[in-house]
């Protein structure tokens, strides 16, 4: 295949958060980074006397952890407060993001109902002029790809 001309950076990413999986709040103006970990499919292997290679079988997929950094602010309904509420209540939270920005035809990745398992609180050093960032981790069962239309 010829070299692609459709590569993209993550600069236009749109990220949204929801407490019900239906109504989402755009937090692109707060979010700084997003990482996804886990989700490996379990696998096993066994050898037999016949043959030279392993027999490999697969199991279920492990949970996924989505880690997001956001700018810490103190407004009512700001992302930090939404996440803190969900963390303290143990209530569900949903995330979705679209690397191309969520316009028509763009891919969108949506978590299943997840729970905030780690919440960072605002911390910092006196000498830093950087905006305060906090990080949280959402643990969910799956991420679904869809297309925006």
């Amino acid at each position: 295949m010829a070299q692609t001309t459709n590569a993209m950076s993550f600069k236009s990413n749109k990220i949204e958060i929801s407490t019900n999986g239906t109504t989402y709040t755009d937090i692109s103006g707060f979010a700084n980074s997003i990482e996804v970990g886990g989700g490996d499919r379990q696998s096993g292997e066994a050898y037999t006397y016949d043959g030279d290679t392993a027999i490999i079988t697969t199991g279920k997929r492990e949970p996924i952890e989505v880690t997001v950094k956001i700018v810490y602010t103190e407004g009512t309904g700001d992302p930090f407060e939404m996440v803190r509420d969900a963390y303290e209540d143990g209530s569900a939270l949903y995330l979705r993001w679209s690397p191309k920005g969520g316009s028509t035809g763009a891919f969108q990745f949506t978590t299943s109902a997840g729970y905030v398992t780690t919440l960072g609180y605002p911390v910092g050093e006196a000498g830093s002029g950087d905006p305060v960032l906090i990080e949280f981790t959402l643990k969910c069962a799956s991420i679904t790809k869809s297309v925006v239309a």
Binding site: T22, G105, S146, V147, V148, A149
Partner: protein, 68 residues
């Protein structure tokens, strides 16, 4: 917005999971999808990308046995 001359009665079927920005819900593959809120260019792009198919075209493909 939709341009003049578009056939507003054209219906489409999703060929992949679609997030509908007006209905605020997912459209499952195979379900009919209303694209009245999109421009012709956007709809054409979705068809070309195999995200949706016009119902009549899809029926024709099925008759010809070319649909998988």
């Amino acid at each position: 917005m939709r341009r003049a001359g578009t056939n507003s009665k054209q219906t489409y079927r999703a060929r992949t999971l679609v997030w509908h920005t007006k209905e605020l819900r997912y459209i499952q593959p195979g379900e009919m999808v209303n694209l009245d809120h999109l421009s012709n260019d956007e709809i054409e792009w979705l068809i070309k990308s195999n995200v949706v198919a016009p119902i009549n075209l899809e029926d024709k493909e099925e008759r010809n046995g070319t649909d998988n």
